[in-house]
């Protein structure tokens, strides 16, 4: 499969690159652009981005697999990311994650059949002071694409999921 940016994306690409002293330095924002453009970042996208920026594809993989905000597989509308790193581990993160797996009927990184939720266990979200923390990305919400939910409990996440379901049926 060969991927390529649309003309509009190409214009944005050039603008991004122009802000950096060299092309290689633009790797992170260009990967975000690729994710927006292709929905996620498959190996072909890494190769494409590498070729555009003069970065060996393996080094694109290095970066893309490190940051949890790049999705290596297609994700649902809401990307629910549950932290189980140390602070969250000690305050109930793993229980919340286990509960969500049962509730949504998916494994880690799985997507519900209706395509509404993708669940993922992630490393520290940098919200340790209010652990346990959950991050929810909404593909369709361009105003608030990323929302943090802190001091979570099993009851609170049940309410959260219900809310998101409502949002999904109101504006699919």
């Amino acid at each position: 499969m060969s991927l390529a940016f649309s003309d509009a994306a190409m214009r944005r690409f050039e603008k991004i690159v122009s802000r950096y002293p060299n092309k290689q330095a633009a790797l992170l924002p260009v990967l975000h652009l690729a994710q927006e453009e292709f929905g996620y970042v498959p190996p072909e996208a890494m190769e494409y981005v590498g070729a555009l920026l003069g970065v060996p594809p393996i080094k694109v993989q290095h970066v893309a697999t490190f940051y949890t905000m790049y999705n290596l597989k297609p994700v649902g509308r809401f990307h629910v990311q549950v932290c189980t790193n140390i602070a969250c581990y000690l305050t109930g993160g793993p229980e919340i994650f286990a509960h969500l797996k049962r509730k949504l009927g998916v494994e880690n990184k799985g997507t519900t059949a209706d395509g509404v939720f993708t669940l993922e266990e992630v490393e520290c979200l940098a919200a340790c002071g209010n652990a346990p923390a959950i991050q929810v990305n909404d593909k369709h919400d361009h105003e608030w694409p990323i929302v943090y939910h802190e001091d979570q409990t099993v009851a609170k996440v049940d309410a959260l999921i219900a809310d998101l379901r409502k949002k999904a049926s109101a504006s699919p």
């Binding site: 190996p43 060996p56 594809p57 393996i58 080094k59 993989q61 290095h62 697999t65 490190f66 940051y67 949890t68 790193n85 490393e123």
Partner: protein, 879 residues
């Protein structure tokens, strides 16, 4: 003052460039350090090297050694920390190698933490002929990543994932399909055995009994090898510490050594009896050679070997000159860098690289002409890549889009055969735009006025139609080269193996002279010598017009000197060059030939005519390590020794004389070549007193003015760069600092007009222009590399062809094709690629089946007689 465990430390370690780890090692304190290696930058990943500096726990490898520090490496607290860290390591990975051994001696048991072994299930791979990967042993020290990035510049590995799922990755698919170029740096540096290689696997269980430092014989870079051996086995080869290769090696130097014990090796002398080469005793073979040559003298010729040592080359020419009264001595420099020597001698006064490999790190612009360095001189190629990654600007002149051309700031992709037109236009742009070093031209160069008038007719705009390179690009290149503080040049056989080879090299010198880029650091004109000792063979006098030290045979003083030194009259007449030898043989004038370590039938151009010449001889003797197409025509074949089986010296492309040290005994009845030559000289009535190669070097030092200060004891560490005029002289990394060895001490600008190669007149409609050359995995005739697993990496000669030419012929990658022209026929295996331009094809000559040199042409460099390997029209069709 800095103290470590109560011991004070030598001041040399506190100079800001050393770490606490270096300092600890200097006093002999043992600090485990898994992720640090002097070849690469600091990682600070493993934390094993923790020490206390003024009571604070820090990573020794990542902390600078400073005056006043009090360091402890062995407190109970440190021991406990390290122990715990070790337990964590083994809970994840089944580390072997030096890290595994260290953990075992620390008493790490793996019982403290539940075995997580997240590592189990990480990739394993055995698809590659040399490298083996099992990342279940990996402790994520990332040395492999740094080695591949910082030594080879290949970017094969990256750290993938995050947290517990972090692992080393080479991307999708089998390792053999990764961009790896098999340099082996990662296997050499990995502390755990997660990445290892065939040699380490093969030699497991054998106990090393010696490490011998010697010089690689696979190209003119002259890398220093540390050969680890046990009895008659080579366990593995590592790069040695040396200014030439800084412990780095390529796939040939590191891995291609198993040919030594290959069953095909010549193990006994052979003599033709009733038409068949039959084993005979050394005595019989030596006597036959001596008597045949004596009978035919002076109509005899010696082709000496650029793959053999200085001492052997010296003996070869001494033998023929003194015993057979002929200057008919040549070597394969004739077919590679003789034009560099001729061109540079005419302009700068010395036919050798003006600068050193180290200057590649000092220059700020590199003009690289006609060299696919990353394949033909891989360790220098890797060095250039690092320089370019570090900001050195690169201009590549090459009809092919080589790996370095892809990295270059400017790639001047000229039509093959138009070097002279292009270089003239570059020079014309310099003069036109006044980009000159006037002071240098004034004081150190002759002939600028006339040159300026001549060159004004060669503007880039005038030459564009010939070279195919847009004038604007040429002008940009001229500005970049002239604008540099330290503009350096290097060139390869793409410059020399042409109709105007020598003249092309003169033009490179012109460029350097115009901008004053000779005689100081980080500049110069530097031929990348092809074979390991082609510099040395020429230095030793294996050419028909001059003897040892480029002392000309037509100079009566030189003849008197050598007559006195050798005790024999020195022949007066200039001898024949290699192509002239063939002509004379075909005419019946040359009667006998001695070919030493060269398969001319496979490697010289227009092979059919070479065979005809050799067949016309009354007598042919060949000294070789493997049977070859040339030895098949011989009357006597003498089994010589490979570089691993003898002592001597090689001189690399930066004029560095380096030791070759014997690691193994010669196979079977084979003998070191210098010994064979001494025996032959004795049999020819010209006995020599030498019992070891160092004595031969002592004689060379007496007759070669540039070698006066050379002796084996002085070569122990890093060798010496000639000229070495006295026993105290440190050698000469940079030539021409003050003056040029030419009349008046000045260099000369040379006016050369572009001439079309006659080869182009033979071009028929539909013909493609063939360029020949080498690939990474093989060396020349391939006699050695084909007999190692390198053959798996590159099993056949590849014919690179542009997609448009391939489409026009309905060809695809993998198709076998026939190449044909008036000289003969060859075959190749198509690789469709845009590395070659439409209308040109590229073919290697490593495999005898391909007969590449059956189609190369009879056109020669007008001055040095070097064949035009880089340009001949061929018709290509499906086989």
């Amino acid at each position: 003052m800095l103290t470590i465990d109560g011991k004070s430390i030598p001041l040399a370690c506190v100079d800001g460039r050393h770490t606490v780890l270096d300092a600890a090692r200097a006093v002999g304190a043992h600090v485990p350090a898994f992720c640090s290696d002097r070849r690469v930058t600091t990682g600070g990943h493993c934390r094993m090297c923790m020490v206390e500096v003024d009571g604070r726990v820090v990573a020794a490898c990542a902390t600078a050694a400073r005056d006043g520090q009090t360091v402890r490496t062995d407190t109970p607290r440190l021991k406990a920390y390290r122990q715990d860290l070790g337990e964590l390591v083994v809970s994840e990975a089944a580390a072997g190698g030096r890290a595994g051994a260290e953990l075992a001696t620390m008493g790490v048991t793996g019982e403290r933490y539940p075995l997580r072994r997240v590592a189990a299930g990480r990739p394993r791979d055995e698809s590659h002929p040399y490298l083996r990967l099992d990342l279940n042993a990996c402790i994520l020290c990332r040395l492999c990543v740094r080695a591949c990035d910082e030594l080879q510049g290949q970017f094969v590995y990256a750290v993938t994932g995050r947290g517990a799922s972090t692992h080393i990755s080479w991307g999708e698919g089998a390792f053999k399909d990764s961009p790896c170029v098999s340099c082996g740096a990662c296997a050499s540096i990995c502390p755990t055995g997660a990445i290892t290689d065939r040699d380490r696997e093969r030699s497991a269980g054998l106990i090393e009994d010696r490490v011998v430092q010697t010089t690689c014989s696979y190209c003119g870079v002259g890398c220093q090898l540390a050969v680890h051996a046990a009895g008659e086995h080579i366990l593995r080869i590592e790069g040695a510490r040396s200014p030439v290769n800084h412990e780095h090696l390529c796939v040939k130097g590191r891995y291609a050594h198993t040919f030594v014990h290959h069953e095909d090796r010549l193990r006994e002398p052979l003599m033709r009896k009733s038409g068949v080469l039959t084993p005979v005793t050394w005595r019989e073979a030596l006597d036959r050679v001596a008597s045949e040559l004596r009978a035919a003298a002076p109509n005899v010729a010696m082709l000496s070997s650029s793959r053999c040592t200085n001492e052997e080359n010296y003996l070869a020419q001494k033998w023929f000159r003194a015993a057979f009264d002929t200057n008919n001595v040549d070597c394969c420099a004739r077919v590679c860098h003789a034009p560099s020597a001729a061109g540079m001698r005419a302009t700068l006064g010395t036919g050798a690289a003006t600068n050193s490999l180290e200057d590649l790190e000092r220059c700020d612009v590199l003009l690289l002409s006609g060299s696919n360095t990353t394949e033909s001189h891989p360790v220098t190629g890797a060095r250039i890549k690092q320089a370019v990654l570090g900001g050195t600007r690169l201009i590549v002149v090459d009809p092919r889009r080589t790996e370095l051309a892809r990295m270059a700031d400017l790639h001047l992709r000229l039509e093959p055969g138009t070097n002279v037109a292009l270089l003239n236009s570059l020079a014309a742009a310099l003069v036109d735009e006044g980009l000159l070093d006037r002071a240098f031209l004034e004081t150190r160069v002759e002939g600028f006025e006339a040159y300026a008038r001549f060159i004004s007719a060669c503007l880039p705009e005038d030459m564009e139609a010939i070279t195919g390179v847009p004038a604007s690009q040429v002008r940009r290149a001229a500005r970049m080269y002239a604008g540099a503080a330290r503009p350096m040049q290097a060139h390869g056989l793409g410059m020399t193996e042409h109709f105007q080879g020598s003249e092309g090299v003169m033009l490179l010198c012109n460029l350097a002279l115009l901008v004053g880029a000779v005689g100081r650091e980080g500049v110069g004109v530097n031929p990348l010598r092809g074979q390991n000792n082609v510099q040395g063979a020429a230095d030793m006098g294996c050419q028909p017009d001059s003897t040892t030290g480029y002392q000309r045979v037509d100079d009566p003083a030189v003849r008197a000197k050598f007559t006195a030194a050798w005790g024999r009259p020195f022949p007066e007449r200039e001898g024949l060059t290699l192509p002239q030898m063939y002509d004379a043989a075909r005419r019946g004038e040359l009667k006998a030939m001695y070919i030493f370590g060269e398969d001319v039938v496979q490697t010289d151009p227009d092979a059919h005519s070479v065979v005809a010449a050799l067949r016309a001889l009354d007598f042919l003797a060949v000294q070789e390590i493997f049977p070859s197409r040339t030895s098949a025509l011989a009357h006597v074949v003498l089994p010589g020794a490979s570089f691993l089986e003898k002592d001597g010296t090689f001189t690399n492309g930066e004029r560095r004389i380096q030791r070759v040290r014997q690691v193994l005994d010669p196979v079977g009845d084979a003998r070191p070549d210098w010994r064979i030559l001494c025996d032959l000289m004795a049999a020819s009535g010209f006995p020599q007193p030498f019992t070891r190669p160092s004595e031969i070097m002592d004689e060379i030092a007496r007759v070669h003015p540039g070698f006066t200060g050379v002796s084996y004891p002085r070569l122990v560490r890093n060798g010496l760069q000639w000229p070495v005029p006295s026993a105290e002289h440190p050698g000469t990394p940079i030539l021409h600092r003050e003056s040029f060895p030419l009349p008046g001490g000045k260099a000369r600008l040379v006016c050369v007009e572009y001439r079309r190669s006659p080869t182009l007149d033979a071009r028929r409609g539909g013909d493609l222009m063939l360029i020949t050359g080498r690939v990474l995995a093989h060396y020349n005739s391939g006699s050695m590399t084909r007999r190692t697993p390198n053959a798996t990496l590159e099993p056949a000669d590849r014919l690179q062809m542009h997609p448009t030419d391939a489409d026009a012929r309905g060809l695809r990658t993998g198709d076998v094709v026939r190449l044909e022209n008036r000289f003969g026929e060859a075959t190749g295996c198509v690789e469709v690629t845009d590395a070659v331009a439409p209308g040109t094809v590229f073919l290697t000559f490593h495999h005898p089946e391909s007969n590449t040199n059956f189609v190369t042409s009879d056109v020669q460099d007008r001055i040095a007689g070097c064949p035009e390997y880089k340009l001949v029209p061929v018709a290509v069709s499906r086989a």
